[in-house]
């Protein structure tokens, strides 16, 4: 395949076993000149070791304030095919499940209006269509939305929620991650498409503490499945693992962080009230051990990337909450959390940052959650704590 530009450096990246994004871009040149000029400009970036994109101004579809990311080449004369190079975010189905028919539908429309290049998926979860022009946006939106595909989100808005595969294909799912994510996505449509928040707000849902969607690290609101009662143990399967040569003492008992799981050479016993439900034993002995039956979710808040004051992981706010259809309790809690943030945050202040500024107390009081030791890894170290007038009245 000989393209419009010589791309000696990029061609290097077609070698080797891992599938090549350059090959993908070259394939897309059959669809559009966009892909061709994208390759040309990228080769130039490789040669000169710098990017040539400009920040997007204002592009979008009428009535929505997000879902499209504007991007322009800073070398439009040299690479006219990417003078406009906007991205369209299509809201993915929960759990990234598709049928071939659905994917072909996506491709058909995109081939008609866009570059032929996609990201499956964006890092937040959207199905990303990579590279189109401003004048195509309304048509793209009409085509997709009329067929049941809506835009995802961008800007200072509720961002596209995402989740792990959960009950779709995982034996450890303690909550219906797919159903809850679909519910929340529908519930927050307005907040997703019309940016009215102080800054972005992300929700990710994992079915258990293994957290296969990095909810605790990459979401303002992290929902993580858990349980209340005892781990279910199948001693026959414990024996089977031992027979297969697993060193249960070293691999499981000694790695149990609370020392609450004991192995006597035959059976496993668990002191469940001391178990933190960390999932290690269950994950490594899936046939023998299973989560308890009384299931729900832990709600955590605040994680984000390092800009400006360093990365945050999410903090436990509600240790256990029921999360079953129709998800009323969780939805109400989330609404309260967002309302407090929306009322108090400065522009571009994520909820984790706001919490650091305000402290937990006003937040917990506003959302009506009592202080609990589960919310902290350890209590404060300093003697500088505050008392309200109400506190002082309690004798």
């Amino acid at each position: 395949m000989s393209g419009k530009y010589k791309t000696p450096m990029l061609d290097e990246l077609e070698k080797g076993p891992f599938p090549s994004f350059i090959t993908e871009m070259k394939k897309a040149t059959k669809i559009s000149t966009t892909a061709e000029d994208a390759l040309g400009q990228l080769e130039k970036s490789y040669q000169t070791k710098r990017g040539y994109w400009k920040h997007g101004g204002i592009v979008g579809v009428l009535g929505y304030g997000g879902g499209v990311i504007g991007r322009y080449s800073s070398l439009p004369d040299e690479f006219p095919g990417v003078a406009h190079y906007h991205t369209v975010r299509i809201n993915q189905p929960s759990g990234f499940f598709y049928t071939s028919a659905a994917l072909r539908e996506i491709c058909d429309i995109w081939d008609k209006y866009g570059s032929g290049m996609t990201n499956m998926h964006g890092s937040t979860g959207d199905l990303v269509l990579l590279g189109t022009t401003t004048d195509k946006l309304e048509a793209i939106f009409a085509e997709y939305s009329s067929r049941g595909w809506d835009l995802g989100s961008s800007g200072s808005a509720m961002r596209t929620p995402s989740c792990c595969v959960g009950p779709g294909r995982c034996e450890w799912a303690c909550i219906d991650t797919l159903g809850l994510t679909y519910h929340l996505t529908q519930h927050f449509q307005d907040e997703m498409h019309r940016p009215a928040y102080p800054y972005k707000f992300k929700i990710k849902t994992a079915g258990c503490a293994v957290d296969c969607v990095a909810a605790i690290a990459r979401a303002d609101l992290s929902i993580i499945g858990t349980w209340k009662d005892d781990i279910q143990v199948d001693q026959a399967e414990v024996k089977a693992y031992a027979d297969m040569g697993m060193n249960i003492q070293a691999e499981i008992a000694e790695m149990c962080p609370t020392e609450c799981l004991k192995y006597d050479g035959g059976k496993i016993t668990i002191d469940n009230k001391e178990c933190t439900r960390c999932m290690h034993c269950i994950a490594k002995m899936t046939k023998a051990l299973r989560p308890g039956k009384e299931r729900g979710a832990t709600i955590l808040v605040g994680s984000k990337a390092p800009i400006v004051v360093g990365s945050l992981l999410s903090w436990v706010i509600v240790p256990f909450i029921k999360a079953e259809e129709p998800f009323e309790e969780v939805t109400e809690l989330i609404e309260n959390i967002i309302e407090w943030w929306d009322d108090n945050a400065k522009p571009r202040e994520r909820i984790g940052e706001l919490l650091e500024v305000k402290g937990m107390r006003p937040f917990l009081e506003a959302i009506n959650v009592p202080p609990q030791p589960q919310q902290v890894r350890e209590p404060r170290k300093d003697p500088f704590f505050f008392w309200t007038a109400a506190d002082l009245e309690k004798k």
């Binding site: 990017g51 009535g63 491709c107 939305s145 009950p167 034996e171």
Partner: protein, 356 residues
């Protein structure tokens, strides 16, 4: 041609439209799973029903042509059903055991890279880089390709003490998982941006530009209708460039990448952890960043050799101590490693017990 009638706020299609029948029937009723190979596994339901998964590497940037090809494969072997993972791999969902081996064979002949399941390296979470983002300080896709080519065996079959999660961030915005990955690359600038004052005056809103700086390093210069940067305060984040391109943060000769290690996301055994700085800098060396690739392999092999079974990279390092991590890997310890940011006090050693 008239466009179809647009609809708003309909949200995504409901996922259950896309679930294979065996999943619909056994939704939430899975009992256990078994790893069958580096890239295949089977999940078994309470009912005894089974679903097989074949996982293939994806560059994430996919052409519609490839998506169609994948769709054809799904039709041929999976009744049309497939999914993508949270790390951007493709998963073929096989409901009929007799179609499993033929699918694997066909994928193999088509040079698909099957793997990423179990205690291995999976796909690298990464974002746009020079392919699409104005903020990029390196190319993400190229780095990923170079690293994954080198570590291919760890994706397809070689077994490690536990999963190793890699990530690449093309700037400090870190649109991915770099801050909590086992081993990750983050692109960094190293110099205060150069200001093209004439164009700042022409093209930029001064208040917005001043407001864009997270460290308040930018002050307005109303006299000359431009801005000045306090070099002491600037941490090379590039936010100013985003709102005002004449403030050029890019310096091809001094931009590059750092390597961080030891993060994790799951709560298994130990709390989730942030990644910490291992190597502060490599120059950008497109197209294959050989020094970065070697450095990652060195860290991975040191981990492979010394960690206990089930220990993640960060758990291993915390058991042996960071001072030992540096001596085992032979990585030089520099001033850049010492935290001088907001939370210095929690990273300094406040103990008389340490290894030499």
């Amino acid at each position: 041609m008239a466009l179809p009638q647009r609809q708003t706020d309909i949200g995504p299609p409901k996922f259950d439209k896309f679930l294979p029948p065996v999943i619909k029937e056994n939704y939430g009723q899975w009992k256990y799973h078994e790893e069958l190979s580096g890239g295949t596994m089977v999940h078994v339901a309470e009912s005894g029903a089974k679903i097989w998964t074949v996982r293939c590497a994806s560059p994430r940037l996919l052409s519609t042509e490839t998506i169609r090809e994948i769709s054809d494969l799904a039709d041929e072997f999976c009744g049309g059903y497939l999914r993508f993972t949270t790390r951007h791999n493709v998963e073929f969902l096989v409901s009929d055991e007799s179609r499993l081996q033929p699918l694997v064979d066909k994928l193999t002949t088509m040079k698909y890279m099957i793997g990423g399941i179990g205690d291995r390296v999976s796909n690298i979470v990464h974002t746009q880089g020079w392919v699409h983002c104005h903020s990029a300080c390196t190319d993400a896709s190229g780095l990923v390709k170079a690293i994954m080519d080198d570590l291919a065996d760890y994706f397809t079959h070689k077994v490690l003490p536990n999963k190793v999660r890699l990530a690449v961030a093309c700037c400090v915005n870190m649109c991915g998982a770099v801050h909590c990955s086992d081993i990750a690359v983050v692109a960094v600038h190293r110099k205060v941006p150069k200001i093209d004052h004439a164009n700042v005056t022409k093209m930029c809103e001064i208040p917005t530009t001043v407001g864009s700086c997270p460290t308040s390093a930018i002050r307005p210069n109303p006299k000359d209708k431009t801005i000045t940067i306090n070099e002491e305060k600037c941490m090379y984040c590039g936010n100013c460039f985003t709102v005002c391109p004449p403030i050029d943060i890019h310096d091809p000769e001094e931009d590059g990448v750092a390597i961080v290690v030891g993060g994790k996301v799951g709560s298994l055994r130990t709390d989730p952890k942030f990644s910490k700085l291992a190597i502060p800098f490599f120059y950008n060396e497109p197209p294959r960043w050989p020094k970065v690739v070697d450095a990652i392999r060195n860290i991975l092999e040191t981990y492979e050799k010394h960690a206990k079974k089930h220990e993640r990279v960060g758990e291993w390092v915390e058991r042996i101590g960071w001072e030992r991590f540096f001596s085992l890997t032979g990585i030089e310890f520099t001033f850049q490693h010492i935290d001088d940011f907001t939370f210095m006090r929690d990273t300094m050693r406040t103990s008389a017990a340490f290894k030499y």
